[in-house]
Symmetry: C2
Subunit: 268 residues, 2 copies
């Protein structure tokens, strides 16, 4: 059965679309069939990234691996109850469709609390939450004591994931593997990095997520967006970007993340 991965974090700019794209390409390069749904209906960063990839392939006559994307539109009904019913149907149709033909389905959630986002979280096998190394981002997971940096009560996004977890357990009798990873980690940050790290460790035990190795801030994670490429595509894409120590390190970060995700059907 297809394994659904939702890349979610209500906080804007945590790196959801970046992680979604890199996981999609990594899985395809491991021989898997991948489905893609971009739930950021207006900005569609993930969808745009995939469209850039298709355009680059056509321009250069390349045959890079591409996921099966289903594009969802928002309901235009002015009555919210009817609009939500419409969106619920559209989402389940798209998901059933992709489940018939993909090993993995990558869903990029928006940086907002929308119905589509909740429907996705409640259908996830894995929720992966990238988070900036920052208490501004942490604030959506839990409160923190400003003097002791002890973790306080869970906050908005944690509550949302928990509600979706209960919903999934009730309807599908299955659990969600929630994995949190830091993203855009700076090389030049010691005290704040340690505090955020300790907060995440404390919180992981309290609200039930696993911690995965994260990604550093690296230009290679964002530089190739106009071409629709990732660092994993660089040997065959005809781009003029040369390999650097940062590329090698990024490749390792992506591999270490996949190892910790323990996705079904993958060997390490």
């Amino acid at each position: 059965a297809a394994h659904v991965i939702v890349v979610g974090n209500e906080k804007g700019g945590a790196g959801k679309s970046t992680v979604a794209m890199h996981l999609a390409v990594a899985l395809m390069r491991m021989g898997k069939t991948v489905g893609a749904i971009d739930l950021d209906l207006r900005q569609r960063t993930f969808g745009r990234y995939l469209a850039n990839r298709t355009q680059w392939c056509e321009k250069r006559g390349l045959d890079l691996p591409r996921p099966h994307e289903i594009i969802l539109t928002p309901s235009t009904l002015r009555d919210l109850d009817l609009a939500e019913a419409e969106e619920t149907d559209r989402f389940s149709d798209a998901l059933s469709d992709l489940k018939t033909r993909c090993d993995f389905i990558l869903i990029d959630a928006p940086g907002a609390d929308t119905l589509y986002s909740r429907l996705a979280h409640a259908s996830a096998d894995t929720v992966i939450t990238p988070v900036n190394d920052s208490f501004i981002d942490f604030d959506l997971l839990a409160e923190i004591d400003p003097e002791t940096y002890q973790v306080g009560k869970p906050s908005l996004y944690s509550e949302m994931v928990w509600e979706c977890r209960k919903q999934k357990a009730a309807t599908q009798k299955r659990s969600i593997d929630w994995v949190v990873m830091r993203n855009r980690v700076s090389m030049l940050d010691a005290r704040n990095k340690r505090r955020v790290g300790e907060g995440l460790k404390m919180l992981s035990q309290r609200i039930g997520f696993r911690l995965a190795p994260g990604f550093a801030e690296r230009v290679i994670y964002r530089e190739l967006f106009p071409l629709g490429l990732t660092l994993l595509d660089l040997t065959e894409s005809g781009s003029t970007v040369t390999f650097t120590m940062s590329h090698v390190a990024a490749r390792q970060e992506l591999r270490d993340l996949l190892i910790v995700l323990k996705l079904p059907g993958l060997e390490g």
Copy 2:
């Protein structure tokens, strides 16, 4: 008359709340009365930052300058037309209220296209748009050619600002000063930084915004959130953070931004 500054960018995580907080504190420390409205109604990063500041003051018996904040709530009506009418009234009441008692009003817009966000943009004297040094962020301003990096047609957020500009010109016979600044700029990025910079320069002439000096990626811009402090508060806040070269540089970045903003009633 009060000068309204909207910190806007539909793209998540560009640094809106960070810039809003730092501008608010800078203006108060220049002796101005500042009003604050956080339009990110759910996450309320700016509102939370201000609440942390109030708590820290109470805990330490400090009297740090604080803005007058008005908290707006979303309409709960299920009919979108009625809900929008309600929100339109709430917004204009809040703005009129603050205009009677503030020199500057700082409005932190959400990373999404909401009615409140559009109402704010259409009432702005200055719109300041922070943007990451990335074509993923750039994509919400305009398209870019992946081979020549020539700027293409304007995209979602540019169109939104333009619609609000027209609305303001029609209703208030006044213009909006739109200023774009880069944020979280990496020290270790040459080619991508140059390309994004050239794209912004090209776009600024085409769609009518001014470019302001931006902020580098610095831990000091985010580390003090739990205390509700900014680097400008550090001499009196009782925090144990020591001054570093980065603090001095950040202070200069904030000053250079204020100079370019050319806000009324400020001497350089």
